[in-house]
Amino acid sequence: MKVTKEDLQNVAVLSRLAIPADQEEKYIGQMDKILTYMDNLAELDTENVKPTTYALPMQNVFRKDEVKESLDREAALANAPLKEDGYFKVPKVLED
């Protein structure tokens, strides 16, 4: 097995997703199948191959330092689940 329960729960935390114990097996089974298939990549020697981040070769695309209109606050907050006095409101933050 490639993915342990610990791996899975670690990734779940990184993903801000809860994976209950009764779903762990299903997740691990599917991930194992997928990752095992992807092992075919290891067949390729990529020692001297550069990674491709950008589909097209572009560089130095810049914007001038000129102010554009901001949203008005009502529009900015229109989709907020909870707001207060022109702020977005969130539950208490416990440092992690």
């Binding site: 901001s70 006095d85 539950p91």
Partner: protein, 479 residues
């Protein structure tokens, strides 16, 4: 066992661009909450960033001014972590190819020069601000988020752990501040959070090389807090080690009110930033030509200016160091000298009365009540013997609260030096007549006794008699 501290700084410097790093919202400080926001900096679905060219220019200039190598191929990366002040839940930053690397700056502490190496300078976006409902984060039931600051451009300037005391750390941060002010990329207003530091502190037995476990203190935004936090942390770690304990790698907050650092209940190892290249921003490729163009636009930097003041005006290394330690001070000095004032006198007056008064009242030199022009005029009055150095102190004091020209102040207050031989002669004669003992002492071979007589003449003239003339006349009359 004796321990030595190993200190490194990550300084975050907000850049003085008009707009944010990845969108056209204004960066202006102090606006109403959530009014400098747009779909891009709010991280709404579908938006894409665009790079503000000034930020790249400022990044390169900061690199050049700190003796860094500029990376010809640089790119942005996503640094992933969840926090409500970060709308996308990643910070667009730079990971393996920052704009500048491998630099250094020199600092002076107690007359000793020390070179502090810079690991790197990278460009990134600032986060928003959380306003907590309670008095501290922990007793708040909710928080409010303001995204105005989200996307304000930052340079993160990372040092090697080359410092070993709070003084050195302060000198280093002052140097970085001076350089950023000189090259005009940041307002460096610490009270507005333009310049803030994360400090890493560890201890190791003196003479050993291996680094100890470090703690980190984030967002230190004054020089005093920087020194206090480091000193406290060195003391705390020393005690832990001496008690046979070990240091926990963690982030601590510095509480300036109590002067202590506190653990933040950290799970440091849970952080996995999963850096990945930012696919929405093409790489930044900088040619030698562009680098040289930016280099040619750099002003004279603190170290060069200091050397020039020493050479050109014969200032001491110490004085030149203080005068060039901020751009505003160096410019003030230049302006005083430009009036025709003697440079050494200018330096003395700045280092003395001016800085003392500014420090006492906590005023920045750029807002000094005695402007460079007027200080220059006053120094010229000394040079022309209109006033003595001693009277000048009175004039300076008056100028602090009176906006008149020094010449007018001297005239209005009747502080013009007495250079009329007849007038001085009268006072001298009187003093000789009334101080027989001193006269006898002098004539008996105690040449130092003339000092007491000069003092009496100055006192009688309310300090206005020209001291050189007094000396000369006394010497003549006493034979």
């Amino acid at each position: 066992m004796k321990y030595e501290a190993v200190i490194g700084l990550e300084i975050h410097c907000e850049l003085k661009t008009k707009t944010k790093i990845f969108c056209g919202c204004a960066t202006e400080f102090g606006a109403d909450q959530n009014t400098h926001v747009c779909p891009v900096c709010l991280g709404m679905p579908g938006v894409l960033p665009t790079v503000n060219q000034r930020v790249v220019e400022f990044g390169i200039k900061a690199g050049l001014a700190t003796n860094c190598e500029i990376n010809k191929y640089s790119k942005f990366d996503r640094k992933n972590y969840y926090y409500p002040d970060l709308p996308k839940n990643w910070q667009t930053s730079q990971y393996d190819l920052p704009i500048a690397e491998h630099g250094w700056v020199d600092i002076d502490v107690n007359g000793e020069k020390k070179r502090i190496r810079l690991t790197r300078i990278h460009m990134e976006e600032d986060a928003g601000k959380l306003v907590h409902s309670g008095t501290t984060i922990k007793d708040s039931n909710s928080s409010n988020v303001d995204y105005n600051r989200t996307g304000v451009p930052l340079l993160e300037i990372v040092s090697e752990p080359d410092m070993s005391s709070a003084e050195e750390a302060r000198a280093y941060m002052e140097k970085i501040k001076a350089i950023m002010e000189y090259i005009d990329v940041s307002n460096c207003r610490m009270e507005e959070g333009n310049l803030r530091a994360d400090i890493n502190v560890s201890l190791r037995p003196v003479g050993t090389k291996e680094l100890g476990t470090r703690t980190e203190m984030k967002n230190i935004n004054s020089f005093k807090n920087l020194e206090d936090a480091i000193n406290y942390e060195i003391e705390r770690q020393t005690e832990v080690l001496e008690d046979g304990g070990h240091i926990v790698q963690e982030t601590r907050t510095y509480d300036p009110a109590r002067g202590i650092t506190l653990s933040m209940r950290s799970k440091e190892n849970a952080h996995d930033y999963r850096y990945m290249p930012e696919p929405d921003l093409p790489p930044i490729v900088t040619s030698e030509e562009t680098i040289e163009k930016y280099r040619s636009e750099l002003p004279e930097l603190p170290d060069a200016r200091r050397a020039r003041l020493e050479e050109e005006f014969g200032l001491s290394d110490y004085d030149a160091g203080i005068i060039t330690s901020s751009r505003a001070m160096a410019e003030y000095f230049d302006a005083v000298v430009a009036t025709g004032a003697d440079a050494k006198l200018a330096a003395n007056w700045m280092m003395g009365d001016l800085l003392k008064n500014l420090n006492d009242e906590g005023i920045d030199i750029s807002k000094s009540p005695v402007e460079a022009q007027r200080l220059g005029e006053m120094i010229q009055l000394i040079m022309k013997d209109t006033i003595s150095g001693k009277i000048a102190k009175k004039v300076f004091k008056e100028m602090w609260t009176n906006t008149d020209s020094p010449e007018k102040i001297v005239k209005d207050k009747g502080l013009v030096q007495i250079t009329d031989t007849k007038a001085i002669e009268g006072i001298v004669d009187e003093v000789i007549a009334n101080n027989q003992k001193a006269v006898d002492d002098y004539k008996g071979g105690n040449k130092k006794a003339i000092g007491a007589l000069v003092g009496q003449v100055m006192k009688a003239s309310k300090g206005k008699a020209n001291p050189q003339m007094v000396n000369k006349l006394l010497a003549e009359k006493l034979g």
